[in-house]
Symmetry: C2
Subunit: 629 residues, 2 copies
């Protein structure tokens, strides 16, 4: 594995297309090394990003601390490996750090202002134009020069917040705000036209009062001409629709080709390429670069550690054990099963059908599958309407987006007394590679105060099926199903439980540890194995509902009670148990502060939620007789 050293970039002599290819090589290496990352989008945006930093923005000259600097950031955020590579080429990010993509102390999987050159946190879609116009407004008020330049995806424009921002920027005549749409025509794995078409995008943007241009986003001459024109238009916000190719620069990743190969789905959106694809892509890029820079120097990547290379997207493989069980997959199967006997069951998606494992349902029951595009609020309110008509909507997205962005819509739906099932995918701390925009550590707190919402999290595949069946067939109000997205770190035998009740999964004598979900149950059991027979572990899948009789009888013999949260320490199971237990002390181990970005092992250790740290914390909290035993 070889990168292009920083020193080589000066030799490109302002050849922007060449520079873009050179950055593509380093982004490719960083993603391969991380085991995850978004190459398709990094590559489609790469010419634009290179053009901006090398030919348009003033940051290369005046630096990232000058208040008069141009502020550039990407709203879609998942294209950040490309941006990191450009910042590396400019000397802002050292190569060593570039090669620590998605690692603790390295570079966050989505943009974070803690990284040099990163001007805004993003990763959840659709916030960028608003943020950019806040920056542009502040610049004017403060008398600072420079523009705000925001990159957006095209699928991302399905988020309604974009249109709030577009209308307000026009109303405020924010001429120092530029937006560039990376119009690569694909969202996660399908064409935008197949998810929710943007229609005539330029017409839409014009209707919102913006000056609109369009050009080939890989043609530096055209880009230069548009930007020159933009500079001359002072009192109107400006948007460039840059027509690009997803995966640009590597023939087999380029979307027209890759879509044909994939039978209509695009496989290079997220995830690192396998070794063979990596080698092919690397060779193709290097060959093209060497056609212009024959003596291009490549540097072998040193210190490659096994944990980080070829790691699956979830990253759980870095831990000693990992299984081939995915509760998300079990969920997908359970939805299909239940659909057969429940004709009222319909499934809603916001462009995460593959990740949420509902593609099989879509294929089997296309009429009962509803695609909202990247528009969680619309999805939830549409589900509310469906529920009022007698359907049972099962609403899918990542927990961090669904519980948060659509929170008021969920409240509104719940207030109608209808029943909707919310599938909160990618709940909790792990995988930690994508960073804090994706890690969901607040979702329980965001839903728990609703009067008719039961929140559960299954710990294995079987419990996933049981709990979904309960939600569909028995729950008399809304249910939220928290689901881990990665592989289960171990296979668990979990006794069946009644609503509000958990079950002992390991006997112990002195202290009791509640946990839920495959990730934390594994850490809890591993901690118990380290500690010995003092620690009893209880799987408690009911997160905001508890059977008082069961609980009081369960805890009675134990001196100490602990809860392991796959969540912030506030607003989750610990608080639920405290409300019921009253005068018993309940100690909570939760995700304190902002969730760390890194491998699962790194993130768990960072938060002292890995088995070893937990064992230490528990033993030190036990009265002397325990630690002495």
């Amino acid at each position: 594995m070889e990168v292009i050293p920083q020193s080589e970039f000066a030799r490109a002599g302002g050849n922007l297309a060449l520079l873009a290819d050179m950055c593509r090589v380093n982004a490719l290496v960083a993603v391969k090394r991380a085991g995850s990352g978004h190459l398709g989008s990094s590559f489609s945006a790469m010419d634009i990003v290179v053009h901006l930093f090398y030919a348009e923005l003033n940051t290369a000259e005046i630096g990232f601390d000058d208040p008069g600097r141009d502020v550039y950031f990407s709203s879609k955020g998942h294209d950040v490996p490309g941006l990191y590579a450009v910042l590396n080429a400019l000397g802002v990010i050292p190569t060593e750090r570039l090669l620590k993509l998605r690692r603790l102390g390295g570079l966050d999987g989505h943009p974070d202002v803690g990284v040099p050159g990163i001007e805004a946190n993003s990763g959840s879609l659709g916030m960028g134009i608003s943020k950019g116009r806040g920056i542009a407004w502040a610049k004017r008020l403060l008398g600072h020069g420079g523009r705000a330049v925001v990159m957006t995806g095209d699928g991302e424009l399905q988020e309604g917040q974009n249109f709030e921002a577009l209308q307000a920027a026009a109303a405020h005549a924010q001429g120092n705000l530029w937006v560039i749409v990376d119009r690569n025509e694909l969202q996660s794995d399908k064409p935008t036209t197949e998810i929710v078409s943007l229609g005539d995008l330029e017409q839409k943007l014009r209707a919102f009062g913006w000056h609109v241009a369009a050009c080939d986003g890989h043609d530096h001459e055209q880009l230069g001409a548009v930007f020159a024109d933009f500079r001359a238009r002072e009192d109107v916000p400006k948007v460039l629709v840059a027509n690009t190719i997803k995966g640009k620069g590597v023939s087999f990743m380029e979307h027209p080709h890759a879509l044909r190969e994939g039978g209509g789905t695009y496989r290079w959106h997220a995830g690192a390429p396998d070794d063979e694809s990596f080698a092919l892509a690397h060779a193709e890029l290097v060959e093209r670069i060497r056609s212009q820079l024959p003596d291009l120097l490549l540097e072998p990547v040193r210190g490659t550690d096994e944990g980080s290379v070829g790691e699956p997207q979830s990253g759980i493989a870095t831990r000693a054990r990992v299984t081939d069980e995915y509760v998300a997959a079990a969920y997908g199967e359970a939805v299909l099963d239940l659909a057969e006997t429940h004709p009222e069951l319909v499934v809603l998606d916001a462009d995460l059908a593959s990740d949420c494992r509902i593609r099989p349902f879509e294929l089997e029951y296309p009429k009962r599958f509803h695609e909202s595009g990247i528009a969680e609020q619309d999805m939830v309110s549409a589900a509310a309407g469906m529920a009022r008509q007698g359907l049972l909507p099962v609403v899918n997205s990542f927990a961090s987006f669904l519980a948060s962005r659509a929170n008021e819509q969920i409240y509104n739906q719940a207030s109608e007394g209808s029943k909707v099932i919310y599938a909160l995918h990618y709940a909790g701390l792990i995988p930690a590679g994508p960073g804090k925009s994706h890690q969901s550590i607040r979702d329980i707190s965001l839903l728990a105060a609703l009067p008719n919402m039961t929140i559960v999290q299954p710990g294995n595949a079987e419990e996933t099926k049981t709990l979904l069946r309960w939600a569909v067939e028995e729950a008399d109000g809304n249910a939220a199903l928290r689901l881990a997205i990665g592989p289960s770190p171990r296979r668990l035998e979990l006794p069946a439980v009644q609503p509000g009740c958990g079950a002992v999964v390991r006997e112990g004598t002195q202290a009791l540890l509640f946990a839920y979900g495959p990730v934390m149950l594994h850490e809890a059991l591993s901690a118990a194995e380290l500690i010995g027979n003092q620690l009893q572990v209880v799987n408690m899948p009911w997160l905001n509902r508890v059977d008082p009789g069961w609980l009081h009888e369960l805890v009675e013999p134990f001196d100490e009670l602990f809860v392991l949260e796959d969540h912030a320490p506030v607003g989750a199971l610990g608080d639920t148990l405290r409300r019921e237990l009253g005068n018993r002390q309940v100690r909570v181990f939760g995700v304190e502060g902002w969730p760390a970005c890194g491998t699962p092992t790194e993130a768990l250790r960072f938060h002292r939620l890995d088995a070893r740290s937990l064992a230490e914390r528990i033993v030190s909290a036990l009265p002397a007789k325990a630690s002495a035993e």
Copy 2:
């Protein structure tokens, strides 16, 4: 005060303009009697609603239970007094209930499906088209006839969710979805063009792939022609931009006139008219009706009770005591004061400047005031951008909207480590007249799991100023300031406190009751006055932060600990105290279930949070020695 009895409507003989005026009379009476309600918008939409129910929808014929019915609802929701009047005319809602607008057991201040003829909960803006298209989609799937017909406001279209819904409805070719925009050109109290212009609305809607028509929304012939045309277009969603006049039907409420009279602001958006204006409006309407129906029968309103008539918008006057103190007003003054010495302080609004008491700031510092329109997500992300540029944004909206709809944007801002102050107006249960879309009983839970967010609620004007100054000058992270919107029920002397500490406001011997905010502190103190010297009352304005030393010393002498929440029992101060107190039992009195709609007295009693109920609950929870004393 006289209404038109139900029997009179049949005599209008299908004269739609006449029927609309007759309904205006009854809506006017209902609002006057309630002491609050939105006449301007009810009147602008009235011709359309009457036209729909009398000439277009099938519900008058087949009823509200038939699955093949047309489903009509208003997304803006605050125009519901007009809809209630039409439903009353049709015999769906009895007159007795119409006259219990905004009262417990009567008609909710915003639409609620518990009321006959109401098809969707609304009141928080921008969800209706999504919901309507969910209904339309379900109808197709289930093979049910009928359309979904959604009324929206025009200011409401600033919410981004509308555009999510518009694009998805077009993508799904939802021909059984109709939208009617009540284009009265005003939002709360100013023209839409002065808040955030909608630009060329028809062009926008066309750009989103809808069939668009426009007509005079008070001309029944034009309305009929448009709807006939709509019926002929099957495979495309259709929107009518109905040009209307806010306050239509009462000369001095009609917006061209009223705006001139008001020097640019419109005073008939919300709130009941005073007695003189009511009499004038009533007389004008009745006179016009009698020009066509000379023997129109009017019926005196019986059983008028004083509490409900002429009650101020907040409704607190129904309780024995009410002061002229508004913590919201103190907040407005404090913002102005701090602005002088803090040039970095800027204020953001989402079209609630009057209610949020920031109009004086807008007038004094127009360049430092930022209007986002009804677009809370955009407002928050714009504030995030401003904060990154060194400004200190103070973001304003109602708590129920801001903490919920912009929740993910707040998380994103907080994750950048910048500082923003969130002013959560209209926090808590009271006023209860507008209903559950506006009452905010989850906002603490929605923000408490953020690592760098301190949530406070002041109990009087002085504490409001102190806490805002603390937030501006001392807080090292974000602060959320919960603010009651109504008048304080009593003037309180509140000792100054340190961060994390509360203060005793009434000494007691046996039990301790924590409370916060003017509404609940009043009930707590009144309860203590009923109980006697056993109950100590502590004002605790820090809702998710507590000084352990202070707390442990404070509670040590007391047998029993109680918390009175102006919030759901989950996720608020009680949970904060339990986390700190560990093995002490903390009993919480909070807003259980959905917040009741009614006068303050009714709502507090319903939830058993009024002084008398509290006293009973506390005494019954105390050990025998207390209740015997």
